[in-house]
């Protein structure tokens, strides 16, 4: 069972019910559960979208798109069925926040899904969990069954005359399926390859119908916005970044864990105070701030607020909120190799710049790591990565290229050491380095 952590600086909104037994529907109701859904039924779609816009909630999957605005893009008068799709395919290395939501507060996901459905006029929602999360799927399935039994889902929910169905779905192992259009393909029973945009899912999505796709954490935040009021929720965060976020701090820290901090919270403080500082009192070398696809920050770049805009200004991204801390002992070349090996393994092969680019990056970085690299390899790594950017259907190409560019730009001296033979590894380590995932 994943350990829960806490720190006085936390503002517990989404995690408020963690550890209280709220996976039980009666407990959830006792803790203000399903009040927000009933309020939204009473007030209607316009109210919902206005409150969502006022809340400043931005997509927690990584892109940070304003949720209320996303919902407002769904056309009102269409005769095709509309859908809500909850993305719980959580697979970005460094990210394990949705894991805790599914475990401790599954009804918040259901309630958020109902509210999203009310906002856009959908009659059906899907909650998609990655295949590895079987025990969490069981918790989710039970929560859905309990909600049906109480009349919160199905025909005439809460006696309102409105129908809303929810279906849970399992994946079967694929990072790419976390991308929204690939997710729809997977849910339609196909290979998880991305669709070209436009049309955007809000217009043509699942089964060709207008679809809202939100990350599980985004959806779980929704009921709280209506319990607090949109404006009050916005005030908790920073400018244009409403509310709180679940930050997963992992790697070389004393107290790794998922902490709920207000948007805009200082990254350095999050590492040194909230997560107890670097493990074993070692020196910090680098931080991957928002899941493995976000460009690395060096030790002297950490005085920055954790929100979408401030992280963007700092040359990186808030991403999925997965903060990975690296101490002074880490070889950045090895770390870069492990990162690109992941993207090479997970590239779905649909777009050539990503399929070929990730493979050549892995080969080139692998050669440098093995001590057989030449100076020109370092320019090639940068050139290859830069030419993948923006040239693929989905962001996986960028997700592989961005961190690679970051590593080679900020830690080029380490790559150079390997090329000059000052940091080579033994043949045995070389074999281990060529990650054998097949």
């Amino acid at each position: 069972m994943p350990k829960l952590v806490s720190h006085p600086d936390e503002v517990r909104i989404i995690s408020r019910r963690f550890g209280t037994g709220a996976e039980n529907i009666d407990k959830y109701v006792e803790l203000d559960g399903y009040k927000a859904a009933q309020l939204c039924i009473e007030k209607g779609p316009e109210f919902i979208i206005n409150e969502m816009k006022a809340s400043g909630l931005r997509g927690r999957g990584g892109a940070g798109f304003p949720t209320g605005l996303k919902w407002s893009f769904v056309p009102k008068n269409v005769d095709r069925p509309k859908y809500v799709l909850v993305n719980g395919d959580e697979s970005e290395p460094g990210t394990c926040k949705d894991h805790l939501i599914f475990l401790h507060d599954p009804h918040a996901i259901i309630e958020g899904t109902i509210i999203a459905g009310l906002a856009i006029g959908a009659k059906m929602g899907f909650i998609y969990l990655r295949g590895e999360y079987r025990y969490l799927l069981k918790i989710m399935e039970k929560a859905v069954a309990d909600a049906y039994a109480k009349g919160y889902l199905g025909k005439n929910i809460f006696g309102s005359g409105i129908d809303f169905e929810v279906v849970t779905q399992t994946g079967a192992g694929a990072y790419e399926v976390g991308e929204e259009s690939a997710l729809m393909e997977s849910l339609e029973g196909k290979r998880g390859v991305p669709r070209i945009k436009p049309p955007f899912p809000a217009v043509v999505g699942l089964y060709g119908g207008p679809t809202v796709i939100n990350n599980a954490e985004t959806i779980a935040s929704v009921p709280h916005i209506f319990l607090m009021g949109g404006e009050a929720y916005a005030k908790v965060g920073s400018e244009r970044n409403g509310g709180t976020r679940l930050f997963g701090i992992s790697g070389h820290v004393e107290k790794p864990g998922v902490y709920e901090l207000p948007m805009g919270y200082n990254l350095k403080k999050a590492i040194y105070e909230v997560a107890g500082g670097v493990l074993g009192g070692k020196k910090l070398k680098a931080v991957v701030p928002g899941g493995s696809s976000t460009p690395v920050l060096t030790a002297d770049e950490l005085d920055v607020g954790l929100d979408f805009d401030q992280m963007g200004k700092a040359g990186t991204m808030l991403g999925s909120g997965g903060i990975v801390v690296l101490d002074e002992t880490v070889s950045m070349v090895e770390f870069a190799l492990r990162t690109i090996s992941f993207y090479q393994h997970e590239s779905c092969g649909w777009c050539i710049p990503c399929r070929e680019g990730t493979d050549w990056l892995k080969k080139t970085i692998g050669r440098v790591y093995a001590g057989g690299g030449v100076e020109k390899d370092l320019d090639n790594i940068k050139y290859l990565a830069e030419n993948m950017m923006g040239r693929t259907f989905c962001p996986l190409g960028d997700a592989a290229a961005m961190p690679t560019i970051g590593f080679i730009k900020k830690f080029r001296h380490e790559f150079e050491e390997y090329v000059r033979g000052n940091a080579g590894v033994s043949p045995a380590e070389h074999d281990a380095a060529l990650v054998s995932l097949g």
Binding site: S91, Y135, G189, K190, F342
Partner: protein, 169 residues
């Protein structure tokens, strides 16, 4: 529909599939879950599974095969009774995930995607399993073990060896 037909699945799973296909606007949406649940029961995706799923969903067998080959959890060969999946992605790597993997290799005497001769264990190095803050983490079949040390890993393997391990399906 298929209840009166011949099926290779247990009556429980066949009934589950009968219901599953009715939940979606399009039957084919049940394919990925059906593949995974078939694998849980049969041990892998056999040619017979492919034929029956294609039949149940009114699609071609090569449609099933094309989906099957995409997802990393799906396999066409049996694995050990306990499939030990060691995460070595970044957060686990920083917390000795490779040490855990090496230890498992040594103790079980097998490498990546291999099975012990008695068929009890198989080993796999896997990508991020979503337990980064509790690294290093391992999954045995569907069960998570986190915050591992070599000693704790031994305990986990001992438990499965003795038939006391947890099994979630």
């Amino acid at each position: 529909m298929a209840t009166e037909k011949r099926t290779i699945f247990s009556p429980e799973l066949a009934a589950r599939f009968d219901r599953l296909v009715t939940l979606y606007p399009v039957k084919r949406s049940a394919l990925v879950p059906m593949l995974l649940y078939s694998q849980d029961e049969v041990g892998y995706i056999s040619p017979e599974v492919i034929v029956e799923l294609a039949d149940r969903l009114d699609i071609r067998t090569n449609d099933v095969e094309s989906v099957l080959s995409y997802y990393s959890m799906l396999r066409t060969k049996p694995v050990g009774k306990y499939n030990v999946q060691v995460c070595t992605n970044i957060s686990c790597m920083l917390r000795n995930g490779y040490g855990i993997l090496e230890h498992c290799k040594k103790r079980l005497g097998i490498g990546h995607k291999e099975v012990t001769p008695d068929g009890l264990f198989s080993l796999e190095e896997v990508e991020c399993i979503g337990a980064c803050c509790w690294a290093p983490a391992v999954q045995v079949n569907y069960d998570f073990y986190d915050d591992l040390t070599v000693e704790k890993m031994d305990q986990v393997l001992d438990d499965y060896q003795a038939g006391r391990g947890k099994v979630t399906v």
